[in-house]
């Protein structure tokens, strides 16, 4: 792999995201696959934030721990990120008062680190430019260092700022010129060579998982979105809100998550496609509604964007610790469907499925995501709009069919697949009661032992129906793997990059395969069992402490995965880190638990 990594660090609010996003977009247009990764504290201003982009001509879906270029907007970058540099790496800074410790000096000399000073204040003064334009100077300086076309950058800057008027554009372009021609006099012009570009990336999208999910939901016919801000679900709320006018949506920022869950459920019950999204704490508040929808057999789509808990936890970091929550939340027993996105492709393609399955089986669908994929910037082909279809299950809307309905058809417990006709308030038909108390056919309260048993069995029969129809788990890499890696969610992106780097899934003659779980409940284990029985080694990779998918697999089929690569420090798996952990694991037979890494 010949990837190049660039990391911009500074305080929150200093503009490192804009540096990262402009370089990312520019490089993608120059023919590169780009992956943008953010780390930031739960603060509006201050703290130490990071925007890293990893660039290659082959697909990149992960970040490395070591970088080629470090841009630091203050001295904290020297303190925290100096050792993130690869040998021969470059630091770009405007901190004129900094003195490195002896230890740092030794590191710099030993690793031939280049230090490029850029006098931002003086340059801004000369150009009579506002301080915020320091970001443009830095971006341009790096752009030239990467040997990239200045006109492409100018076009991008023009695009970015034209809504602010010609004067602003002009000033920005002056900064581009100045940044591109500048060289640190002590260092001279240093360059970093990128791999040869590939024009196929030019017209790819550059999207976060949240944007991809938003697009997927719109594609699926989303009409009503009710949310309450909570990181890392907020970027989805923000994206959907940003297109609300063009999409003609009903958007409501609710007073709390209970409201968000109830309002979206009411809208879905009425017959539109509605959704809500939240993170762990907000999801906890939604769980009573989840149970209610299980009982009244109402479709619901809820995005659960994970971050490390318990409690407020680490609000702006990532985790995969809410799998058990999604599956076991809410009182009582009722069928539900849990799925997880893992990369921008399925962020888009799973949303229509979430709505379809919610309507076909008339139950809550929980779509798991996490901070990593929610905020990571990915290079992805324009989403395929041919595949998705709108399936609404046993929804009756035809006037002739509506006439034939009896009130008692709604919750008729004799339905073989557990699924009964559903029709909408306002339809000219016999009416029923969407009843959250135990009930009989038309939704009248019925506490008899006989009906309680029949209705529980009716609802729970849906699980078997779903299991029959759900797509299987996905196997990547070797068809009959000696080493079977098992995982779910956004760790897939890093695993896939690692497999790619291990020569298409082969390592020292070992065939390596990755079994990915998109649908997590009801859990299918047939393929897993078949592969695990033949594999020499099964390795579980998850971003949580307990190995929750492993627990589920054991619960469902009895197979106890011994080898676990687990991470629970709020950071995702990094490319080089996971590669190393997998290689180590292949050389040892002991389970391996990772404490921290970054």
């Amino acid at each position: 792999m010949s990837r190049i990594s660039i990391k911009a660090v500074g305080s929150s609010g200093q503009g490192i995201n804009s540096i990262g996003e402009v370089i990312a977009k520019g490089l993608k247009r120059s023919g590169y696959s780009v992956f943008g990764y953010r780390e930031y504290p739960s603060l509006i201003k201050g703290g130490h934030a990071i925007y890293q982009i990893d660039v290659d001509s082959i697909p990149v879906r992960s970040a490395e721990t070591k970088v080629d270029i470090l841009i630091t907007l203050n001295h904290h970058g020297f303190e925290h990120n100096l050792y993130d540099l690869k040998p021969g790496g470059i630091i770009i800074h405007d901190v004129d008062y900094w003195e490195f410790s002896k230890e740092d000096q030794r590191f710099i000399e030993k690793n031939k680190i280049n230090i490029a000073y850029i006098p931002l204040d003086a340059m801004l003064k000369k150009l009579k430019a506002r301080p915020i334009l320091a970001n443009v100077l830095l971006t341009s300086f790096v752009w030239d260092m990467l040997n990239q076309d200045i006109e492409l950058l100018k076009a991008l800057v023009r695009e970015q700022y034209q809504h602010k008027g010609e004067d602003v554009v002009k000033k920005n372009l002056e900064c581009v010129d100045e940044g591109c021609i500048y060289n640190d006099p002590k260092l001279g012009r240093v360059t970093v060579s990128l791999p040869n570009p590939n024009a196929k990336w030019n017209d790819h999208l550059l999207v976060t998982g949240s944007v991809a999910m938003g697009l997927g939901a719109l594609h699926a016919g989303l009409r009503v979105y009710v949310g309450y801000p909570m990181t890392p679900s907020s970027p989805l709320l923000s994206y959907i809100s940003s297109v609300q006018k063009d999409a003609g949506l009903v958007i409501k920022q609710a007073e709390d998550e209970i409201t968000a869950a109830q309002m979206s459920s009411g809208a879905f019950h009425m017959g539109t496609r509605a959704m809500t999204a939240t993170s762990g704490g907000g999801y906890d508040l939604m769980t009573e509604t989840m149970s209610m929808n299980g009982m009244i057999e109402n479709p619901m789509v809820c995005v659960l964007a994970q971050r490390p808990g318990p409690a407020t936890g680490n609000p702006t970091w990532t985790a995969q610790g809410d799998l058990m929550l999604a599956i076991n939340s809410s009182h009582g027993e009722f069928p539900r469907l849990v799925m997880s996105v893992s990369d921008p492709e399925d962020c888009f393609s799973l949303m229509p499925e979430a709505f379809n399955l919610a309507e076909e089986y008339q139950l809550p669908v929980i779509v798991l995501t996490d901070k990593h994929i929610a905020e990571a910037l990915c290079t992805v082909e324009m989403f395929d709009q041919k595949k998705a279809e709108i399936r609404r299950g046993k929804l009756i809307t035809d006037p002739k069919d509506l006439k034939k309905l009896k009130s008692t058809d709604r919750y008729d417990p004799s339905a073989k697949d557990g699924i009964t006709p559903r029709w909408l308030p306002g339809s000219h038909a016999e009416t029923f009661n969407a009843q959250a108390d135990e009930h009989n056919g038309d939704g009248s309260i019925d506490e008899s032992a006989e009906m309680a048993k029949l209705q529980m069995e009716k609802r729970m029969r849906k699980i078997e129906t779903i299991k029959k129809n759900l797509p299987d788990t996905e196997l990547y890499g070797a068809k009959n793997p000696d080493v079977l890696i098992v995982g779910w969610g956004s760790t897939k992106m890093t695993v896939m990059d690692v497999l790619e780097g291990l020569e298409v899934g082969k390592f020292r003659g070992l065939k390596i395969g990755y079994l990915h779980y998109t649908y997590l409940w009801p859990l299918k284990t047939e393929l897993f069992e078949r592969l695990a029985a033949k594999a020499k080694k099964v390795i579980l990779v998850e971003c949580n402490y307990q190995g929750q998918l492993g627990m589920l697999i054991k619960q469902q089929c009895g197979f106890d995965i011994q080898e676990k690569i687990l991470k629970y420090d709020g950071r995702p798996f990094f490319y080089d880190e996971l590669r190393e952990l997998i290689l180590q694991n292949l050389q040892t037979s002991k389970p391996l638990n990772l404490q921290t890494s970054s």
Partner: protein, 300 residues
């Protein structure tokens, strides 16, 4: 208006259309009977068939009435009826949506929803079954129970002060406030009709004072019969916010009932949604696969 008790020649609704075979299970003398009767009358008089309306019930004794009448109905969770009903209404503005909730659900468990329902001015009707206690759970004090009343779980009376519910409601700048007494079915019917018609303007709040003969031994049916008077007989101007708030709040001598306040000049929540302006269809009608090419182009 003469209410049609038998099916109408023109196909309009009649009282039997709302009849459900399930028998009522409320206590003798419960105020729910009056409210149940009046809502059916109001819907019939508004010429609404059961299939044209959506009636949402909170949890409590009143909620046990959700299967004692026809109409599309919903009986959900305790305290949460307002947001569910609001979400339903926003999805289909053509269907009248009426939510019912008790004083426990609305002034304790789900008080936030009531606040934001009024603030948002959702185009819906909310009918408060106000019996000033938790009946179904055997008579605990609610935040509207008079202070000092011995109740189940508070034999020495509750230590908290009673919420001045009407003063609270008026502090939220409502667009429709009415109060009625469950014993006066004619008045209830008129108030319910006005409250349902107000949906085009926004959130209609109706406080129905009702007896709970089993657990409420202070504001009894007889007490309410004695104290309630109809403001329309005294020429009250429903546009006068200050006067409405005053007579609604002060119940020491008499209890003002009838339509107390209405403002039809404030847009409802849906009308304020910029993206929905000029769209004549409802979100329910709009579910279809959408081409997102335009949105994708901006992300290249």
């Amino acid at each position: 208006m003469k209410i049609p008790l038998s099916p109408q020649a023109q196909g309009g609704p009649a009282m039997p259309d709302y009849h459900h075979a399930n028998q009522c299970t409320w206590c003798d003398g419960c105020g729910d009977y009056g409210i149940w009767t009046a809502i059916k009358r109001a819907l019939v008089e508004l010429n609404l068939h059961p299939w044209q309306v959506f009636l949402c019930f909170d949890v409590g004794c009143h909620g046990n009435g959700s299967d004692k009448l026809q109409g599309y109905r919903f009986h959900g969770l305790h305290g949460r009826v307002i947001p569910f009903a609001a979400g339903a209404k926003l999805a289909n503005m053509e269907v009248p949506v009426v939510a019912f909730g008790g004083d426990g659900a609305s002034f304790s468990e789900g008080i936030g929803h009531l606040v934001h329902g009024i603030r948002s001015n959702y185009p819906m009707t909310f009918i408060l079954h106000n019996n000033e206690n938790y009946g179904l759970t055997t008579g605990q004090a609610s935040s509207l129970t008079w202070q000092g009343q011995p109740m189940n779980s508070s034999p020495f009376g509750i230590p908290e002060r009673t919420i001045a519910s009407m003063d609270f409601i008026f502090s939220l700048q409502p667009t429709f406030v009415a109060r009625a007494f469950s014993g006066n079915i004619k008045q209830l019917t008129e108030v319910f009709k006005a409250a349902i018609e107000h949906q085009k303007h926004g959130f209609a709040f109706v406080d129905v004072l009702q007896a709970c003969p089993t657990y409420n031994h202070f504001a009894t049916h007889e007490y309410l019969l004695e104290k309630c008077y109809d403001v329309t007989t005294e020429g009250h101007d429903v546009r006068d916010f200050g006067q409405a708030r005053k007579i609604a709040t002060d119940t020491t001598e008499r209890i003002a009932t009838g339509l107390l306040y209405q403002n039809t000049n404030i847009p409802n929540f849906y009308e304020r949604l910029e993206p929905r302006k000029g769209i004549m269809t409802t979100p329910v009608q709009e579910v279809a696969k959408r081409d997102v090419s335009g949105f994708m182009k901006e992300l290249v």
